[in-house]
C-alpha cells in the first residue's frame, strides 16, 4: 500500500537536507518540509481533524501551502487547495459544500475569510498564515516553531480520498473532483515515467498550486526527490526566467499563456536557458507557430504537448519525436491509461470520426463530491462489469496512428489562461447588477490567453450601465481570469424560437470583433 505522503517521508529519508523547495531566497529541505508538516498535522489533530475530514488551504504559492498539503494528508484528512484570489461568496460555497473542518488562510485576507466563514457550522477552526492573527487565534508560524511531534497514524488505506479539487462546470457551480491516494499516486507515477524525471531535475513552477497541474510539480518532486523552484506567478516573466539560469532549471511546466508571454522576450538576451531539458504544456493547445519558435530558440529542450482534465489529472501526451510532424496532436494515453473516442451511444469510433473522449484506468476520479447526478453523467459503466469510465465532455478525433486531436467542448465551457471558464458563473454575477436585463458570455480567441471572456449585455429599460461598472462588479466577485475583457452592449440579444438566448450568432460576431 502506498499513500501520497509516503513520497515525502521517503524523500526526506533519502535526500534529507536537499532542497525540496526554493521560494524566493529561501530554500526548504525535504527534511524540513517533513518535520514542519508533522507539526501542522499534530495541530490539525488537536483541533479535532480525523480521517476523512476536509482541510482547505487557501494560500499563494509558498512553503506554507506545501506544508499545508502534506499536513492535511498526514492528519488523515482530504486536502482542498483553494486559490487565494477566491472571493468571499465562492469561498463560502467551497467550504460549505466540502464541509471543511479547518481552513488555513492568510491573515492579510482576514476580512474576506471572516465574512465567508461567519455562518459555517462545520468549520472547527482557522489557522492563520503570515502576520500574527491576534490573541486566541491559531497562528501557523507559532505551530511550526513549536517542538517536533509526530501525528497519530490515521489508519488510511489507498482507497481513501486525498484531494478534492474544485473545477468549473457548465452549471456555473463548482464541482469537487474526488481523488483517492491510489488515483494520485498512480498519476504521479505515470507522469514522472513519461517525463523521465530524475532526482537531478530542477523544476520551475509558476503555476498556482491550487491548480492540479501546479500541485503535481510538488507531488512529482516528492516522489522523485527533485527540487521545485516555486514562483508566486508569471506576472513578471523576465524575473521568473532569470531563475532558470540561477538554479539550472531542467523542467518548465507551462500553459499557452506562459509560453506566449515568454516568447515576447525572445531571443532571451541576457538569460541563460541552456539548462532546460524539457517544457510541458497542457490546459490548452500550443499554437504550432509557438511550438516552432520554442524549438528554434531552445533546441536542447524537449517539448511535451499534453492533455488532461482535473477528473483524471492527465490523459496523455504527444511523443516529442512527433511534434514537428503533428504539432496539433496531444498524442495518446499516458502509461497504464486508455483513451478512446465514442459516439453518443458509447460505441467506439474509428479513425478521424469526431466523438467524446473516454478515459479508462486508475487515473479516473471517484466522482464529484456530494453530486451524484453529475457523477453519474461523468462516470459511466465500462466494458467490464462494475468498472466506471470517465466521459470527459471533450470532443476529440483519433488519427489512423492512434494519436488524439482536441476538437471542442460538448458544453459552452471554455478556457482562459488554461483555466476553465463557466459562462454561467460569469452570467450569474452579471445578473446581480440591477441594470442588467440580459447577459450572455462567450469566449473569443486571444493570442496570449487562448480565449478571453466577452460579455453581451442588454441594459434594462430606464437604467444606465458603463463598461467600467460591469468590470468593477465582476472584479469584486470573480477571480481575475473570469473578469470580462470585452463588454458589448446590445439593444437586444438573439433568441431561439422558444425565447432562450442563443449564443451562436454572438460567437460569429465575437470571433471577429473587437
Amino acid at each position: 500500500m502506498l499513500l501520497l505522503h509516503h513520497y515525502l517521508r521517503d524523500s526526506a529519508a533519502r535526500f534529507g537536507g536537499k532542497p525540496a523547495l526554493i521560494v524566493g531566497t529561501q530554500s526548504h529541505s525535504f527534511a524540513e518540509i517533513d518535520r514542519c508538516s508533522d507539526q501542522l498535522a499534530c495541530a490539525l489533530q488537536r483541533v479535532g481533524v480525523r480521517r476523512g475530514d476536509r482541510v482547505g488551504v487557501m494560500l499563494e504559492n509558498s512553503a506554507e501551502m506545501v506544508i499545508g498539503l502534506w499536513a492535511a494528508l498526514k492528519a488523515g484528512a482530504v486536502f482542498i487547495p483553494i486559490n487565494h484570489a477566491t472571493k468571499a461568496d465562492k469561498l463560502a460555497f467551497l467550504l460549505e459544500d466540502s464541509g471543511a473542518a479547518v481552513l488555513v488562510a492568510p491573515t492579510s485576507l482576514r476580512q474576506r475569510v471572516r465574512s465567508a466563514t461567519a455562518d459555517l457550522a462545520t468549520l472547527k477552526d482557522i489557522i492563520w498564515a503570515g502576520e500574527a492573527p491576534g490573541p486566541g487565534a491559531l497562528h501557523l508560524s507559532a505551530i511550526l516553531a513549536g517542538p517536533h511531534d509526530a501525528p497519530q497514524d490515521p489508519q488510511l488505506i489507498d482507497q481513501d480520498l486525498c484531494l478534492i479539487i474544485y473545477t468549473s462546470g457548465s452549471t456555473g457551480k463548482p464541482k469537487g473532483v474526488m481523488m483517492s491516494h491510489r488515483n494520485i499516486c498512480h498519476n504521479v507515477w505515470s507522469i514522472s515515467i513519461y517525463l523521465g524525471n530524475v532526482p537531478e531535475d530542477v523544476v520551475l513552477c509558476a503555476l498556482p498550486l491550487s491548480f492540479d497541474y501546479g500541485l503535481f510539480q510538488v507531488l512529482t518532486g516528492a516522489r522523485i526527490g527533485f527540487t521545485v523552484v516555486l514562483e508566486r506567478s508569471f506576472t513578471f516573466p523576465a524575473d521568473v526566467l532569470k531563475r532558470i539560469g540561477e538554479h539550472k532549471v531542467t523542467g518548465l511546466p507551462g500553459v499557452p499563456t506562459i509560453f506566449a508571454t515568454m516568447l515576447q522576450l525572445a531571443p532571451f538576451d541576457g538569460l541563460d536557458l541552456s539548462s532546460l531539458r524539457y517544457l510541458t504544456n497542457t490546459a490548452a493547445s500550443l499554437p504550432p507557430a509557438h511550438i516552432r519558435r520554442l524549438r528554434r530558440l531552445l533546441p536542447q529542450a524537449t517539448i511535451f504537448s499534453m492533455f488532461g482534465l482535473t477528473e483524471c489529472t492527465r490523459v496523455g501526451y504527444l511523443d516529442p519525436g512527433k511534434i514537428d510532424r503533428k504539432p496539433t496532436s496531444v498524442g495518446r494515453a499516458m502509461p497504464n491509461t486508455e483513451a478512446y473516442v465514442v459516439d453518443d451511444d458509447g460505441r467506439r469510433l474509428g479513425p478521424d470520426a469526431i466523438g467524446e473522449l473516454v478515459v479508462r484506468g486508475a487515473s479516473v476520479m471517484r466522482g464529484y463530491w456530494r453530486s451524484p447526478e453529475e457523477t453519474a453523467q461523468a462516470l459511466r459503466d465500462g466494458d467490464i462489469p462494475g468498472e466506471k469510465v470517465l466521459h470527459t465532455g471533450d470532443l476529440f478525433r483519433m488519427d489512423a496512428d492512434g494519436d488524439l486531436y482536441f476538437v471542442g467542448r460538448k458544453d459552452d465551457v471554455f478556457k482562459c489562461r488554461g483555466e476553465k471558464v463557466s459562462p454561467k458563473e460569469v452570467e450569474n454575477v452579471l445578473y446581480e447588477l440591477e441594470a442588467v436585463g440580459e447577459a450572455a458570455v462567450i469566449g473569443v480567441a486571444d493570442d496570449i490567453d487562448g480565449a478571453a471572456v466577452k460579455v453581451f449585455v442588454r441594459i434594462r429599460d430606464g437604467h444606465r450601465l458603463t463598461e467600467q461598472a460591469v468590470r468593477q462588479h465582476c472584479r469584486s466577485r470573480l477571480e481575475p481570469q473570469l473578469v470580462p475583457r470585452y463588454v458589448e452592449f446590445r439593444a437586444e440579444l438573439p433568441k431561439t424560437d422558444s425565447g432562450k438566448i442563443t449564443k451562436t450568432p454572438l460567437r460569429a460576431a465575437g470571433a471577429t470583433a473587437p
Partner: protein
Amino acid sequence: MLHGQNGATAPKIDTARNTPTPTHIRSTLRVHFIENFLLGDEQGLGDDTSLIDAGVLDSTGAIEIVAFLEAEFGITVCDHEIVADNLDSIARIEAFVGRKRAAGQE
C-alpha cells in the same frame, strides 16, 4: 483597448507639454489602482506596498499597468523592463517613470 483605462478620474497630464512631478505620478497611479483594481478600498495601499500583495497585479494586471503607463505618461515600456524592481509598488513605478522620462529627454 485594454480594460481598466476608461473612466479613471486621475489627474490628467498633457504629456506633450508638462512633465509630471513625482506627486502627480503618485496620485495618478494611486487613483488608478484604487478605482480600477481595489474598488475604492485604499486601505493598506502605501507607496511601498507590493502591488502583487495588494491584489492589484496578476499576469494580466502587469500588461494593463504597462498600457496605462504608456498612455498616461508617454513612455514606451520594453518587455524586459516588466520586472518587479520597476513595477511592484507605487514608489518603484514612480522612479521607473522618472528614469524613462529622463532618458527620453536626452
